[in-house]
């Protein structure tokens, strides 16, 4: 199945997994950091909000590495698009477009809603796919196993409901 991005064929899962492992271990060996993206959302919040939760040491000190790392993720996406046929804005949503004809505004509302769950959920669980699913599981941490099982169930139930029941 081609990617939404320029209809590209995806790289092999084993190569992608090995690359992600390489980045994870480079963070450990070069910088003593545990991979984790969603804490970066707290770093961003801490720039503008005075809430005590965002004034924690781990957050304020983490900004110096997480914010550059997060900007790298955006850059990686830009680079990937530029190198594969050029950067251009798109609203394409594959399977969702095939079932629902959402206006641009409706897509923004859909995504904002998804984002709310992502932000609230990842911070409540203390991590996301990277921090729990990759780093935490690799480090044999119980909270990460519990969180990973929980978010996989949450995703499976929601997608199955959406694509097999509501929009078959």
């Amino acid at each position: 199945m081609p990617l939404l991005l320029h209809g590209l064929a995806p790289i092999h899962w084993a190569a992608a997994g090995a690359g992600i492992s390489g980045v994870t271990l480079a963070l450990v060996f070069l910088a003593n950091k545990r991979l984790g993206i969603s804490t970066g959302f707290e770093d961003v919040c801490s720039l503008v909000l005075r809430t005590p939760y965002f004034a924690r040491n781990a957050i304020v000190r983490g900004r110096t590495w997480r914010l550059p790392f997060l900007s790298g993720l955006v850059l990686g996406g830009v680079l990937s698009a530029v190198l594969s046929g050029g950067w251009q804005p798109t609203w394409a949503l594959g399977m969702l477009d095939a079932r629902l004809h959402l206006s641009h505004g409706a897509k923004l509302a859909w995504m904002f809603t998804g984002g709310l769950f992502i932000g609230l959920g990842t911070r409540m669980a203390g991590g996301c796919t990277s921090g729990h699913g990759i780093f935490g599981l690799s480090n044999f941490e119980w909270p990460s196993l519990v969180s990973t099982i929980s978010f996989m169930i949450g995703g499976i139930v929601t997608t199955q409901l959406l694509y097999r029941v509501l929009l078959p």
Binding site: L4, K33, G115, I118, G119, G127, G133, N139, I156, V157
Partner: protein, 152 residues
């Protein structure tokens, strides 16, 4: 501690983002395919990453030092009810948006306009959680506010 520069983090983030972009991890259809059990790709990616990373981290916990010579110190997370409730909420969001936190940023980079709304939502959700922390702390048995739910 580390003497690594911001440039290093930008470079590592860029490599990570590029891989997420080209592997399907930042692709709406591949995420739904994973949750529908129709695509192995994402299971393969996460599984390979864990299988390759785990033995190295196991060794590191015993005798690890960074390249700079500092002892490797990996903070472990605390178990609480937020792992279950927050995990389930995040899973719902991952399904709706078709992206988890890293790919939200990657998709913005790729030019998927709607990902900007996902980022706005994620930041709003994070802010909401920060504001509600003391309220949720009791029912979810969350760690003290100085520790937070964990870095990840």
């Amino acid at each position: 501690m580390s003497t690594a520069t911001p440039i290093l983090y930008v470079v590592l983030g860029t490599i990570f983002g590029y891989i997420l972009s080209r592997s399907g991890a930042a692709d709406y259809d591949y995420i739904q395919g994973m949750f529908l059990f129709e695509r192995f790709q994402l299971y393969g990616i996460i599984g390979t990453a864990v299988v390759l990373t785990a033995p190295v981290l196991w060794l590191v916990r015993r005798r690890g030092r960074t390249l700079g010579g500092a002892p490797i110190r990996i903070e472990r997370k605390l178990l609480h009810r937020g792992n279950i409730v927050g995990g389930a909420l995040f899973g719902i969001g991952w399904s709706i948006a078709g992206m988890c936190p890293g790919p939200v940023l990657v998709n913005i980079g790729e030019g998927k306009v709607y990902a900007v709304a996902a980022l706005a939502g994620a930041l709003a959700g994070t802010a909401l959680f920060g504001r509600l922390y003391t309220v949720l702390q009791g029912p979810l048995r969350l760690p003290p506010i100085v520790a937070g739910t964990g870095e990840g």
